[in-house]
Structure formats: structure tokens, C-alpha cells
Symmetry: C2
Subunit: 237 residues, 2 copies
């Protein structure tokens, strides 16, 4: 199964389906057989990542490692995880994997320059867990970007409730919430905004359509890095 | 992994992503952990089903059985296949499976009465392979329905090219083609039309939104039968 992409998904399940659609849309193929075969391990019972980071829930690490091991044992050629918050445990997962583990944060940050070559101020919309762990902030700072995040109040009144609305399938309500959260970041000078949670693009479809150059969709960025990888000869995985 | 739904997918990959989204949308859940865990074996290199039925390409049976065996060995609780044409090999797959194999045709036909209780004339849009094998026609006839299918010419000028457009990611063009194919069936008296190919709903989003009571989406019908199954105690599956 070396030609299969392993997907550690289900976090959440709608974001996983959306990621798979983006993988198809970004693959230069005209028939089924030219696409990337996928083995998805989608255990949506994995404990909430933000709750674990903030110390209000159990750690997801056992479930994450179970998925990584399953995909490795099945023999996939590489693994991706269409969930930003779970990348708080990236190092542990990478250590347990014999094959390449794509990094959604690195893939997303690479797309900032593609969207706006001279951007300096980058906004990030993410779960509170991703924000707390600083995985976007650190990576962006290392590359010389200045980072704008929602305030604590914006997280508790807009971003976190918005993500919960998406997980509850209430997408039109989420659109309004995220429109507000994004406009606050733009008001503070954000030139590009990374949607650093794979649920968020589902609640920002209208805005992404209206202003595609403003937003980096982490789910799409991950798909792009994969189609590039699977388009190349896979020597040494 | 008894709580996992096994999905034999990749036929095609966009239809699989669409099915997974419909599974989420039709599951009464408000958080990730209440959804159905999924193990997807998505081998999009499976040979084209219609080409096999019409004798112009190799059989997909080896790949189909490899997927069914993989999912069984992994220990899933049940298996579904969001591809109508592959149900031409349903009996062989069911014989190779120790767990329940959902039948997309039966799930779809069950939805006809839900859409229109007194329907008698049912149109079916499907691949030419599904049409040739008569899997919808036989099931519908057995239940007392009369079946309307596209003519040979409509298959070669509308339905088959429309499915190819979807597989090539050209959805707006497909919409026009399927609008024509559906209106021809309605003109002949179809009271309900089954979209008996999981790619077709992707190329009929506008029409399904405009006239939801006319169409049975086989992908959604399959999702509905699964959420019903996973909502019940699974003794003896």
C-alpha cells in the first residue's frame, strides 16, 4: 500500500470529508485512477484537543498513536492529519511513524508568501488549544512574520463558539461569527489570515469565495503539499 | 474496531468525500465524539466498473475483494460502498465479508416512498454499467414500480459524458448536462428520479436544491441507512 496516503482523520469528521474533497480538487487528474489512493483512519472519538491543552479533558495521545501505528502497519507511503490542534502532539506522532508525517502548520505557512509576497502581519484563526501551544506563532515568528491573534475575549465569544457551531453542523451561523473575527484581525492590520483549524474554512465559505487572496486555508495547504509529494517519485518515502 | 464503519471508497474519490460529508450531516451529533468512526479504504485505482460490465476493460473484482478483506481484517462493524456500479459484484463481496455489507440500491429504493408515497413511475440516472446490469430496474420492478431509464442515445450524449465531467472536476458543465437528462425523464412521466450513481449528485447540486422532493440521492440514502444502523445496539450486527 505504498501508493496510499494515510489520513489520520475524524477530528472532526466534516473537516476530514472537506479535506478529502480538497485533495481531489487539487490533484491534476481527469479519471479516478489518476487520483491518490487514500486509507483514512477516522476515529472521531479521539478526545478534544483543546480540552487536553487547557487541562480540562483527557489527552488524545493514545488515540493519535493508535492511528499512526495502524496506518504504518497497513503500509501507507505517508501520513497527514487534517487537524491543526493535534499537531501539538506532532513530535510524538512522528517518532512513532516509519513514514513521513506531513505538517499542516508548515504547509500553511508556506502558502502565506503565495497569497501575498510582501506580507509582514499574519493573522491566525485557530482553536484555543492551537493558540495556547503557539504552534503557528512560533513557526511564523521564526520566518520573520509578525502574528496577530484574536484576544482572549474574541476567543471565548467568537472563535471557540464558531468552531462549536461548525461541529454541530450550523454553518450559516458560523459564517457570521467568523466574519466578525476576521474583520477584527484585518482592522488590526492583518494582510493575510491563516485559517489554522480545518473546521474554520467550512464556516467561512462565503468569505473565502469573496476574498480568496486574504485567506490561507490550512486544509487546502495540506492538500497542496501532498499532491506535490505524490506527484514525485517516492524513493525513500 | 467494531464501532467503526468500513467504507470501500475511491470510486470515485470525490463521491467518497461527498458521501462522508452526507454521513456527518445525517448523524444526529453535536460534537465530534458522537459521530460514527470511519475506516476508509479508498483505492481509486480500482478498474472502471462500467468498462468491465461492457467488456471494454478489466474486472474490478480483485481490488473490490482486497478492500472488503482489508476492512474485515481491521475489524470494522459493517461495510458500505458509496459506488452504485460496484454493486454489480455485491454478491461476491458479501460472500467475502464476515460483517454486514450495506446495499446502496436497496437503501435508495427505500427512499422513493419517503419522497412520494404514491409514486409509480421512477426514473433512474446511473452509469451505463449499472443500467446494463439492471440492478435498479430489477429491485424497483420487484417492488411494483415502473422504471424509466435514459435511452441509449441519452446515455452516450448526456449521462456518460456528464459523469466523466464530474470525474474531471468540471461540475458546472455537468449541471447543464444532467438538467437535460433529468427533464427528459420527467417529460416521460417520472415522478421520482433516483440518482443511482454517487458522482451524479455532485453535478446536480443546483437542481437537488431547487427540487428536493423529485430526487433520491443514492449517496444520501446510503448515509441514512447507516446512521439508522449505528444508532441501534449492534448485537449480531
Amino acid at each position: 500500500m505504498k501508493n496510499f496516503l494515510g489520513v489520520l482523520g475524524g477530528m472532526g469528521p466534516l473537516a476530514t470529508a472537506d479535506f478529502l474533497a480538497k485533495l481531489v480538487h487539487n490533484t491534476p487528474a481527469s479519471i479516478d485512477q489518476e487520483h491518490v489512493p487514500v486509507l483514512l483512519y477516522g476515529d472521531c472519538t479521539t478526545p478534544d484537543r483543546t480540552a487536553a491543552v487547557t487541562g480540562t479533558g483527557p489527552s488524545p495521545i493514545d488515540k493519535l498513536l493508535a492511528g499512526v501505528r495502524f496506518l504504518n502497519e497497513a503500509g501507507v507511503g505517508a501520513i497527514c492529519i487534517p487537524c491543526n490542534s493535534s499537531h501539538c502532539w506532532y513530535d510524538e506522532m512522528a517518532a512513532a511513524s516509519g513514514v513521513r508525517l506531513f505538517h499542516i502548520v508548515k504547509a500553511s505557512v508556506e502558502q502565506v508568501r503565495v497569497k501575498k509576497t510582501d506580507a509582514r502581519l499574519v493573522g491566525v484563526l485557530s482553536t484555543y488549544g492551537t493558540h495556547q501551544m503557539g504552534i503557528y506563532r512560533n513557526t511564523l515568528n521564526d520566518m520573520g512574520f509578525e502574528v496577530l491573534s484574536p484576544s482572549e475575549e474574541e476567543f471565548s465569544t467568537l472563535v471557540s463558539p464558531g468552531i462549536a457551531l461548525i461541529k454541530a453542523n450550523r454553518l450559516p451561523e458560523a459564517e457570521q461569527v467568523f466574519a466578525k473575527a476576521a474583520s477584527l484581525l484585518v482592522g488590526r492590520g492583518a494582510e493575510v489570515i491563516i485559517l489554522g483549524c480545518t473546521e474554520i474554512p467550512l464556516g467561512m465559505r462565503e468569505q473565502c469565495k469573496a476574498n480568496p487572496s486574504l485567506f490561507v486555508d490550512s486544509s487546502e495547504a495540506l492538500a497542496l503539499s501532498i499532491t506535490e509529494f505524490f506527484g514525485r517519485p517516492q524513493a525513500g518515502h
